[in-house]
Symmetry: none
Subunit: 184 residues, 4 copies
DNA sequence: AATGAATGAGTCTTCATTCAT
DNA sequence: CATGAATGAAGACTCATTCAT
């Protein structure tokens, strides 16, 4: 089936790009890892590697949106949802191998001086912030407050992930909700 | 002069790695940009690209430590120093080209599954956090508080830089001190 | 056609390795001589030069087995076959250029501290000795005698070729059958 | 002392060339193994690698002549001397590492399409054969017989060494005297 | 006499992509 | 749709040699 092959490629690419970055992964690595023959790629992604990278980033983004929802939907307060999100990410960090960074950064920012990559990363990051904003509003925060907190959450999650990666220790991520909710 | 060639290579490499990541930059790019002939590199960096990357990261780290000092030394309070630091980074972001990310992440985390890279990035990040901690202590914070705030500063700066990069807008960085000092 | 390109590479490589040894021949020499573009090689020989060398050695070995058969099949006695073989080799030496050595030695023994190379050369040499042994048996020698003579033939041919190469004179090879059949 | 450094280089080069051939050994390998600084080489061997190779071959040749003398001087008959020589070579083979081939072939024949190399190898091989011839004459053989046997000895030793190398087993060398003295 | 920095052509290999089937 | 062969530019790295000190 077509969709299956295409999805498998995007999913595999996302996983590998996350570990080693856009330029650190060769098409042959992806093909081998996905067990897809060489010639197939260009049927599904006509522009080749860049198309695949965009698809992989969208794939990872959908995953992230799902995680955000899973964290916030059952939450009674913003603080609860936010905390759960960090713990979920920490768990993900441990499961996925401690070399992994933010998939979108790894795919779209690191690697390739490509305007479309940058724009897409901006849209994706905004969609994450908007999703958190929506949950925050739903949980009672004012629109301005919600947006500010969502942005901050994004920033801290992103930076915390880097530190966790450098230290190979997801505890960094688990410590951040406390700081976020109490301020400095 | 020897030091000159070696330093020029490290400096050039740092600049390019910051823009396009470790794997995104070829040795030939660095050599061309530094106007150094091909064979010279391996005199100064016997292990080649990886050695050069470590030197480049150390180079960038010293620069960062200098910026931290420049921000905190004249400051009367921790809040002042922290705010200045973010503004300095925002200015740097504008000057250096908006494609630039954290040099150490770009060099040592993105790119190459290399244990020594990871360890070095950890040490470098720790040295930044320690330097900020020292300034915070000097400015009157308790040791525990100082360390916590320094870590948070690092995390927010790192994440903020990513967002700024995605948005191609350094204002993100300038907005963060307010959030940091007031809490959420 | 696939087989054509692959065979052309193996054949060309065998020829060049024979003249200048494994390490003395660059891939670019082979590619240029075979008029095959650079990227093609790794389709046919995924491990690159070492794979190509193994294929070239096997190629040369098949050629040698054919020469052995050509010499012994029409022979009435072992001595006749052996003598014909040395004369055929002398002729080959003259035809192929007097710089040529034993292809298998030049490819697999000289060059590269590679266990698989050594093992392959052993198997190949054994296959030559076995083939001569079979002919000798067929021509009436006892099994033990046949094997001993075949080994000696191999040794003398190998050493004689070296001397011929040093002297640039195939007569050395033509003198050896007399010595071999009469003893010392 | 000058001679010491020069000899050390020649000796080290001979050892390495014997294992991996002229083209298989880099100048840096030799320099590192001999613990001689890079710039020194061209004082002692003005033409660089080729000069060094010639010196290394002469060095190895003198060693071989010494071994021939050691084998034949105490011998009562040609057969005794010849047998001792093969056993000495077998022992040498075991001591030096089973990857080693004939030093002169490895240096001067394999490697470099160089007329002077070829000529030198011819002279060296001739000098070995002449030395054996002299011993044979001294031990009572006629001049013609002596020369023929010496040549045959050379050929069988050379070929036997190759087989021993392929099989990683010096017994091949120890079996040859019997074949040589009894004929086939 | 001795040295280590400098050099650029050379090494083998992998890259992303196109093409004919 | 699917495929594996073909492609040559680019990848990192090593080479033997020269030169100023």
């Amino acid at each position: 089936m077509n969709g299956s092959t295409k999805d498998k490629l995007a999913w595999t690419a996302a996983k590998l790009f996350q570990e080693r970055g856009y330029d650190g992964v060769g098409l042959s690595d992806i093909l081998k890892s996905a067990r897809v023959p060489k010639g197939s790629l260009y049927h599904h992604f006509r522009q080749g590697k860049s198309d695949l990278a965009l698809a992989a980033a969208q794939f990872a983004s959908r995953e992230m949106l799902r995680i955000i929802d899973d964290a916030f939907l059952p939450a009674k307060t913003y603080k609860d949802g936010m905390t759960t999100l960090f713990f979920k990410c920490a768990k993900l960090f441990d499961l996925m191998g401690k070399w992994n960074g933010c998939p979108v950064s790894g795919i779209l920012l690191n690697g390739a001086y490509n305007p479309m990559f940058r724009e897409t990363s901006e849209h994706i990051f905004d969609s994450w912030i908007e999703r958190v904003t929506a949950h925050a509003t739903r949980l009672g925060l004012s629109e301005n407050d919600a947006k500010e907190r969502a942005t901050h959450l994004f920033v801290v999650l992103q930076g915390g992930w880097d530190l966790a990666r450098a230290r190979q220790n997801s505890d960094e991520l688990r410590r951040l909700p406390k700081l976020l909710s109490e301020g400095l």
